[in-house]
């Protein structure tokens, strides 16, 4: 078993969820690394989409922006953001990865602000960008994020991107696309999914080196759990070799 860091584990865990023949919309950083890793290992036919318009590029390196010229490098199409967003809406995008300053038990994400006053926030973040769109339309939305009890919040200061809203059937009733929603939350400590009826976050597997108690202690709300909590699989040597050698040789992401 190879030695690896937490970021590498999260990227590998995310990559494994991506199936060949499926499509994934990615941002910069860990999401892009996970998609590239999947494509170079078990999912050669994974379709990678950049929201700004890059379709199926042969990425020569990690892009700095989801709209930079690397995202159309030897691509099948360089189109518009309007066009890719329409592809999301039509139900042609299977997976995405998001992050946020806060996440609640239903997978709702905050990337807009901390503090109660919207016009004069204590801390202003970038806002939705495409995140709300991704979370609204992708069949399976995943989150890759470090875990602590402030970030995993009892109540978000602001819901930028929909998870399962207030749980149960509230997402379906809201008007958002049926059958879409959060799928996995991948942290430095564990992998979570969502209980099908209540739509509450639950522990699926705990990462090597952490305990269920660690996971619960670093979460601001009560986590459900699978009957049998597994251990998150280690990255394989091949996965680490590809990730370090081909996906992120300059350690932009895995060196963080």
């Amino acid at each position: 078993m190879a030695d690896y860091n937490t970021m590498e584990l999260m990227i590998v865990t995310g990559a494994r969820e991506l199936k060949s023949g499926a499509s994934v919309a990615v941002g910069t950083g860990a999401p892009c690394a996970a998609a590239m890793l999947a494509q170079k290992t078990h999912a050669p036919d994974l379709l990678i989409i950049f929201e700004a318009g890059g379709i199926d590029p042969q990425l020569p390196e990690m892009p700095i922006s989801v709209g930079d010229s690397r995202t159309i490098w030897k691509a099948c199409q360089a189109t518009s953001m309007t066009d890719t967003m329409e592809m999301f809406c039509r139900g042609m995008v299977d997976y995405t990865f998001l992050g946020g300053a806060q996440i609640d038990m239903y997978g709702n994400l905050n990337s807009t602000r901390i503090g109660p006053d919207h016009q004069k926030p204590k801390v202003r973040f970038p806002g939705s960008g495409g995140a709300n769109d991704f979370g609204s339309f992708c069949w399976n939305m995943m989150v890759i994020t470090p875990q602590d009890s402030k970030r995993f919040a009892e109540k978000n200061d602001y819901i930028t991107t929909p998870g399962y809203l207030e749980g149960g059937d509230s997402r379906d009733k809201s008007g958002l696309a049926k059958g879409s929603g959060p799928y996995r939350v991948i942290t430095n400590m564990a992998v979570m999914d969502f209980e099908p009826k209540s739509k509450r976050m639950r522990i699926k597997s705990v990462n090597p080196g952490y305990s269920e108690k660690d996971v619960r202690d670093n979460c601001g709300f009560e986590l459900l759990a699978h009957k049998k909590i597994g251990e998150t699989h280690h990255p394989s040597k091949k996965e680490l070799d590809v990730l370090r050698g081909e996906v992120d040789p300059y350690r932009y992401v895995i060196g963080r």
Binding site: G21, L47, I55, P57, F88, R90, A177
Partner: protein, 332 residues
């Protein structure tokens, strides 16, 4: 939502966006070889009773070879998008392929006049019709491409075109202005003819695109016929030129001169003599039956059809006409 007024036309397809998403969830995103013969593509993807749409604009970049194949395989009871359909309509009406029809423009061939047979078919009462305009049908495809069940536009209000349509008049929630809501149109199967495609279905169109970019996105299944196959490397060399991406496409058929006897921009002009032959022979039902046997039912392929009408020599003459040169005509 308040419905101010509603047309009496029946919708031949389901405008529900979640039902459409459920289909598109199952559509492959893999880069796989989709090459097949036009015969196989039509047999595999065009089914009796389904909703059919045809790309291009009447007799311009229209997949006439595919229309012939659909008639030859005797597809029936289809619903059809008559979206400025001219010679394609004439061919499909000859085969009585459809009996439900969304109409923007039918039975005419623009400056060439009207198709006697298509007009006769439309006057039998056998075809259930729903009226729209060119922009209505474009907008219905745009709504489908956008993954929504409707878009608001500002035409048809106050006219019989609205009354016999399936549109609904609503008010803008911001301004109170009235709009005609156009229901999304997701065809079951469409055929689009393009200049170049790779084996995965990435397509380039060197022409006006009419409504084809939205049609490609809206269609549940899509057959591409192309003048020329090109390698995927050529697509990737210049990705801004890709008009239709591979994941919209189910079948790729290389059919040179696939728009004949219509126009293909930069490739060949229309064969006006042969189109006039269609218009003339249609006046005599018996002669027209023979004509259809000779030109469609008893030929194997579009190449045979072209051979009947002058073969490659004719194609080169039509290229001269298209390019307004005399290069080929002078060859001797």
């Amino acid at each position: 939502m308040d419905v101010i007024d509603q047309g009496v036309g029946r919708l031949f397809t389901d405008p529900d966006a979640d039902n459409a998403r459920a289909h598109f969830k199952t559509k492959s995103r893999a880069l796989t070889n989709k090459l097949m013969s036009l015969k196989d593509a039509v047999a595999k993807f065009v089914h009796d009773g389904e909703y059919l749409a045809i790309g291009g604009f009447g007799a311009n970049r229209t997949p006439i070879a595919a229309c012939h194949e659909i008639v030859r395989q005797k597809k029936k009871n289809m619903a059809f998008a008559g979206h400025t359909s001219t010679h394609d309509f004439q061919v499909l009406a000859a085969g009585k392929v459809f009996d439900k029809l969304d109409i923007a423009y039918i039975v005419g061939l623009e400056a060439r006049g009207l198709s006697p047979n298509a007009r006769k078919y439309m006057q039998t009462g056998e075809v259930e019709v729903c009226e729209w305009t060119n922009y209505c049908l474009s907008a219905r495809l745009k709504a489908a491409a956008m993954g929504v069940s409707f878009v608001p536009i500002r035409n048809v209000m106050g006219t019989d075109t609205f009354k016999f349509s399936g549109a609904i008049i609503i008010e803008c929630p911001f301004t109170g202005q009235k709009y005609a809501a156009m229901p999304a149109l997701w065809p079951d199967i469409s055929v689009i003819h393009v200049h170049e495609a790779d084996m995965y279905g990435n397509c380039r169109i060197r022409d006006i695109t009419v409504s084809d970019l939205d049609l490609a996105k809206a269609s549940k299944h899509l057959i591409i016929t192309c003048e020329r196959l090109i390698p995927n490397e050529e697509i990737r060399r210049e990705p801004v030129l890709t008009d239709i991406p591979f994941f919209c496409v189910d079948a790729v058929c290389e059919v040179p001169y696939g728009a004949y006897p219509g126009v293909m921009a930069y490739e060949y002009f229309s064969d006006e003599e042969h189109i006039m032959e269609w218009m003339t022979v249609e006046k005599d039902p018996e002669a027209f039956k023979e004509f259809l046997d000779k030109n469609i039912y008893n030929v194997e392929s579009h190449f045979d059809y072209i051979r009947l009408h002058g073969g490659m020599e004719k194609m080169l003459a039509l290229r001269d006409k298209e390019l307004m040169t005399t290069a080929n005509s002078n060859k001797g």
